[in-house]
Structures are given as C-alpha cells and as structure tokens.
C-alpha cells in the first residue's frame, strides 16, 4: 500500500514540477504558454550538451538549465509575448509557433544539418543522459524500498515550490507580481514597472521548466518531441487547481498524481489516464474556476 502512495506522490511531484512554471506564467500573467513543454525539452538538452561539451555532471546541469531556459524565456517575453498581453488566444497561437521553432531548431541542429554539419547532442535522435550511480536503484526507508531518483524528484519539487512560495508571498517582487495578477493597470498606476516584472516572471517560470527538464532527462527519453505531451499535463494541473493559486496547483498535482497512481496499481495505466482526464472534466464542470481561485479583476 505504501509503495502505491509513494508512486502517487512521485507522479504528483512530476506533474507539479512541470506545472509550477505554468502556474506562474498562466496564473500571474494570463499567458497560455504553449512553449512551456519546449522549455522542459531545452532543459533536458542542456543536460545533454553540458555533459558533452562542458563535461558537466548531472547535478551541475540544474543551475545551468535554469539560467539557459530563463534567458530563453526572457527573450521570448521580450520579442513575442510582450506585444500580446490581454489577448489570451493570441498568446496561445504565438507561443505555439515559438514552440515549433524551438523544437525544429533542436531537430535541425540550428539549421546546421542543412549544410551537412552535425552538432553532437542535437538532431532528431534519442539522447543519452548519464545519471550518477548513487541516484539509480533503491534505498531502504522504514523497511520499504524507495526509488532514489523519484525521491530526489520529490525533494527538488518541494524545494522549488518553497522557493516559489517565498518569492511570491514573502518578497518585494512577489507583492508586485501579485498586484499585477489582480489588476495590471492599477498596479502600473501605483508605480510598478509592469513590463520589467512581467519579463522577470516569465523568465522565472521558464527557468523552472528548465529544471524540470533536467529531472525528466534522467529517467525519461530525451528527444525533440518530449515536451509536447508534458504541456498538456501541466495545463491540466493549473486549470484544476485554479488559475493563479500556487496552493491550488500543489493540491491538484497531488490529487491527480494519487488518483493516477492508485487506479494504475489496481487496474492498469491506460484506464488510469482515462480516469484522470474524466476527473479533470468533472472538476471543471462543477467548479469552472478550479478548486482554489480568487476573483481577479
């Protein structure tokens, strides 16, 4: 029984890891960022490239991936998203376009493959990421065998959630972000530099996706399409949790993870996915604004 709960917890933490960045960009900024999955993918490729070109270890890639994807996110905000605030559907289409561009850049090796040049670590194929030996295998905790890698993911998710919470609710910049969330124009009238804060928020959200990418690369497959399915799961968590509520995202990720893990253990994985999607539909019908949401203006 305990192993089932642990799997549920681990599934939930993976969902949250991907959703955390979305909760911020979507929740705080009202941008449907379809390129979020590609940020995860870029994070994973940073791990691959870091190991190949800089001889970086797996853990050392965590901060590097954060920086790389945050910079990329910042650039995307500057060039594309900035011009589209308040136009929800347009952000969806535009970031989708960005997602395709990023994906193709990786697949075509930044266009080098047109000239017959090959950049090691990029291209359409599957990539290998080396994981430190101590992170593979199991550890005995209270007489239970616990998967170390998944334990580590839970830990990273916890830390990132805590950091995000501190940033959002205990820091100067967080107050400004939340003010923009409630009413961007009033916030601007109070002297908040909305453009700057938005840029930083988007960069932070993308950076979180990058960290998620590193964690994914260690136990899933790294290839250019890997982010596409993740962004769906991410939005599911955010929508169920309630847009703009960090606590709601945490809770909904936990809930969906446990339901998925539980149903999968007692029946099978295919049914579990169907049940999760069914549950999401049900929640959205009963509570269209999600489990936890505040009235924004």
């Amino acid at each position: 029984m305990l192993d089932v709960i642990f799997i549920g917890l681990s599934l939930g933490s993976i969902l949250l890891l991907v959703a955390l960045g979305l909760a911020i960009t979507y929740g705080a900024m009202g941008v449907i960022n379809m390129a979020h999955g590609e940020m995860v993918m870029v994070g994973a490729y940073t791990t691959v490239m870091g190991a190949l070109w800089l001889n970086l270890g797996f853990l050392a890639s965590l901060p590097l991936a954060f920086v790389v994807t945050a910079l990329l996110g910042w650039a995307i905000e500057r060039v594309v998203v900035r011009r589209l605030y308040g136009r929800l559907l347009d952000t969806l289409l535009a970031t989708w376009g960005v997602a395709i561009l990023v994906q193709q850049a990786v697949r075509l090796e930044f266009g080098m493959s047109f000239f017959g040049l090959h950049i090691q670590g990029l291209g359409p194929g599957l990539q290998n990421v080396k994981v430190p030996e101590w992170m593979t295998g199991v550890a005995g905790i209270f007489g239970n065998q616990v998967n170390i890698y998944r334990l580590f993911i839970i830990l990273v998710t916890l830390v990132l959630t805590l950091v995000t919470w501190l940033l959002m609710y205990r820091s100067e910049i967080g107050i400004q972000v939340r003010a923009i969330m409630r009413n961007p124009r009033m916030a601007a009238a109070c002297g908040i530099d909305v453009q700057r804060i938005n840029g930083l928020t988007f960069a932070y959200g993308s950076g979180l996706a990058g960290v998620a990418g590193v964690m994914m690369s260690g136990f899933k497959t790294v290839f250019p399409d890997m982010g596409t399915s993740m962004v769906v799961d991410g939005f599911m968590v955010v929508v169920v949790g309630g847009v703009g509520s960090l606590f709601g995202s945490v809770l909904s990720a936990g809930l969906l993870g446990q339901v998925n893990g539980g149903v999968a253990s007692f029946t099978n994985d295919i049914l579990a996915r169907a049940v999760v999607f069914g549950l999401v539909i049900l929640i959205i019908i009963v509570k269209p604004t999600g489990l936890f949401s505040f009235k924004g203006r």
Partner: protein, 418 residues
C-alpha cells in the same frame, strides 16, 4: 494540434529533401535508361529517428548496385519521398509515386500503420511494396514483399530458450498498447503453454507513454521470474531506467525484449540494460566479415563513425538486392514480373542467408538471441542453426504444413476455424 503539426512537418520535409537531394539522385548518367524506384520513409517527425536510417540504408544499397553496373545494365534511380511520420501523408505520397510517377516498386514504411495506409494504393494500381520491418503478421498481400521478421521468427526460439536455459517459468508480458505488441502477446502465450511456462500478467501502456512507476511496481509484486517486453519506441528507455531505479536486476529478473535494439540501448545508457535479452534476426555485433564490412560501409555512407545498424535497417538494405535479382530473373521491372521473380529469391545478407518464401512473400530469417553487454553491444548467445520459415498467421494456428497465406491469397476459411 494536428493542423499546425503538419505544417511544421512539411517545412521540415522540404529541408530534408534539400539535404538529401544532391548526394542521392544519380540523374547524370543515362537518364533515359534508368529504372526508377520509390523510397518512402519518414524523414521528418517523431519516427524519423528510425526511418531516416532505413532510407539511408536503402539509398546505400541503390548506390552500391549502381556502382556495380546497375540492374540489367541500367542505373537505378531513387525517387525519395517523405512520409512525415503520418499515415495519411504516407498514403498521399504512395499515390504520387505510383499514379503520378508510374513506378512499379517502392521501398518503404516502418510502422504497420503506415503500411496499412499505403496498402490499398498498391493493391488497386498493382505495384510492389518492399517492407523491411519486423511486424505482427496477420497480413497476406500479393503486392508486398515482407523482409522483416514475423512473430514466429522472433519468438519461436526465444521463449523455449528462456524456459530451458534460464529456467524461467512465470512471465510478465508487457507492451505498448497497439496491434504489434498485442499480436506478439498472443504468440507468446501459445509458446509459453507449449513449453510448460505460464504468464502471470499481460499488461499494456499507451504508445509513447513514459511513466513506468506503477507498471514496474506491479512487475515487482507479481511474483514473475522473467519479463517479456514488446514495448516500442521512446517508452523503452524510460522502462529500462525505471526497472533499475526500482532495484530490479536483469540477473534475477531479466527483461526479454522483442523490440529493444541498438538504438534504444545507446539512448538509455548500457548500464541499464546489461544482462537483458533481445531476440532479432540481426544484431550489429554479428561476428562475420560480411556484417563488419556492411557496418563499415554504412558508417562511411552516412558519414557518421558512430552510426548504429539494426534489424530493420539491415532488411532495408538487403531487400533492394532481392528486388534487383527479381528484376534480372524476370527480365522486366513491372510489378507482375517482380512478384514472379522474387518468389524463392535468395541473397547473402549481412545477417546470413535470406530467402523469399515462394508462398507468402515473407522472408526466411535466422532468429538470434542476444544479451546486452556493458559496451552497449549485443553478445549473441543463441542462433537458430538455419533460417526459419515465416508464418504470418502463427497466432491463429498456422503451421508449415497448413499454410494460410499462399499465392492465391489468404484462405479465410482456415482463419475462422481457429
């Protein structure tokens, strides 16, 4: 989602065509007398990971045939099309090649979905399709030459060997949720029963799904002593990693796979697969001069000193030679001539001697079992003494004395009885 994805793929396709065109089209010499053939693989999209290498192997075979003087003194010219990992695109491109370019032969397809999508085109316009991939069987078309393994060529030696040599009796069958793994599982169950083994579970995971936590936990608690995996594609990597991460080892509970090839092993890292088994007619590690030379030439051809070769790739290569011999035997390159010519055609392929079955146009191949080593290469631990007859309907009771698929087509009455 699909709309935008397609336009993306198209853009990629043009790019891919631009790269490949100069080196592959051999239009310079004697353009009027060339024999044109179609080459139809996904050069873009998710499946391009594998299919690009199949296209490369086909092109390499054509280049080698041309370098040795062509077919009946005529050069072979390839018309390369991109299936874009999408069955609908496959169908359109097949129509273009057969109706538009009026070609009699096309080499192509990796997935069954893409083969099924082009099949009506080939049957309606009577053209020949050479299909290089191992597949689930249950097909009997007079317009397809199948040069990959069918279930009995991957499993008929595998399961008895596991039971006898590894002493395993309780199998956990796991696969991706679509037709190939499900048909493979049927054959597995027949063979397990025949060999006095049993299966404790038969479970599936969505194709492309990479969350293995629950499944591996189930395997752990199932009391099985071997895992028979028909898992396909990128899920394979996540599966083997989760397997090790949950503390399972291949020396106690080996994964015995039918689809895990050199490509997936390289992506997951050999340390996750050491000691596990795979059954295929071809491995890169086959220790013969012919194979070593093949690997070397392939690496030179694709200009990648680390390129890996695998079963479907090898079939993509040798089936072009089978086609060449068929054309030369029949003395013409029309579909009917090729169909007659290719029956019983033999060739010394990198994996060994292959023969096209006279009855069902499938290919005799030599099943091999390999254990994965720390360097990511296979060590062949068992090989059939001779090539095995292909039986595409073995899951429904087909035996070599009771064939379901003959030149007359499928005998559906036999299928119903089983």
């Amino acid at each position: 989602m699909s709309l935008d994805r397609r336009s993306l793929l198209k853009a990629g396709a043009m790019g891919a065509a631009a790269i490949t065109a100069p080196s592959f089209f051999t239009r310079s010499a004697a353009a009027a007398e060339t024999i044109k053939v179609g080459v139809l693989f996904s050069l873009t999209g998710g499946l391009s990971i594998i299919e690009k290498s199949l296209a490369d192997a086909t092109m390499m075979a054509i280049a080698e045939i041309n370098a040795a003087g062509g077919v009946m003194g005529r050069k072979v010219e390839a018309v390369l099309e991109d299936g874009a990992s999408d069955p609908k695109t496959y169908n359109e491109k097949a129509s273009k090649l057969i109706v538009g370019d009026k070609l009699a032969t096309v080499f192509g397809s990796y997935t069954s979905a893409s083969r099924k999508a082009v099949l009506p085109v080939f049957e309606k316009h009577n053209a020949m399709y050479f299909y290089p991939t191992y597949y689930e069987g249950f097909e009997c078309s007079r317009n397809v030459v199948y040069t990959g393994a069918v279930p009995n060529q991957q499993l008929s030696n595998f399961i008895p060997w596991i039971v006898k040599n590894l002493g395993k009796k309780k199998f956990f069958i796991v696969g991706s949720n679509y037709i190939y793994p499900r048909e493979m599982a049927k054959v597995c169950k027949i063979l397990m029963k025949q060999n006095g083994a049993e299966f404790v579970a038969d479970e599936y995971l969505e194709l492309g799904h990479s969350e293995w936590g629950s499944m591996v936990n189930k395997i752990k608690n199932s009391g099985c002593d071997a895992v028979l995996s028909n898992v396909v594609g990128d899920s394979v990597v996540a599966f083997y990693r989760e397997f090790k991460n949950q503390g399972l080892t291949h020396d106690k509970l080996p994964i015995c796979a039918t689809v895990t090839s050199e490509i997936e092993i390289a992506a997951m890292g050999a340390e996750y697969a050491v000691g596990s088994y795979t059954s295929f007619p071809y491995f890169m590690a086959i220790d013969s001069e012919r194979n070593k030379s093949f690997v070397e030439r392939y690496r030179a051809f694709v200009k990648d000193p680390k390129a890996v070769t695998h079963h479907a790739l090898e079939s993509s290569y040798f089936q072009v030679f089978l086609w060449k011999q068929a054309v030369e035997k029949a003395g013409a390159a029309t579909a009917d001539a090729i169909r007659d010519g290719v029956r019983g055609q033999e060739f010394d392929a990198p994996n060994g001697h292959v023969t096209v079955d006279k009855e069902n146009l499938h290919t005799y191949l030599t099943p091999r079992i390999a254990q994965w080593q720390a360097d990511g290469q296979a060590k062949i631990v068992d090989a059939y003494p001779q090539p095995v007859e292909p039986l595409p309907y073995v899951a429904y009771g087909e035996t070599s004395s009771n064939l379901f698929c003959t030149p007359k087509g499928l005998d559906a009455s036999k299928l119903k009885k089983s």
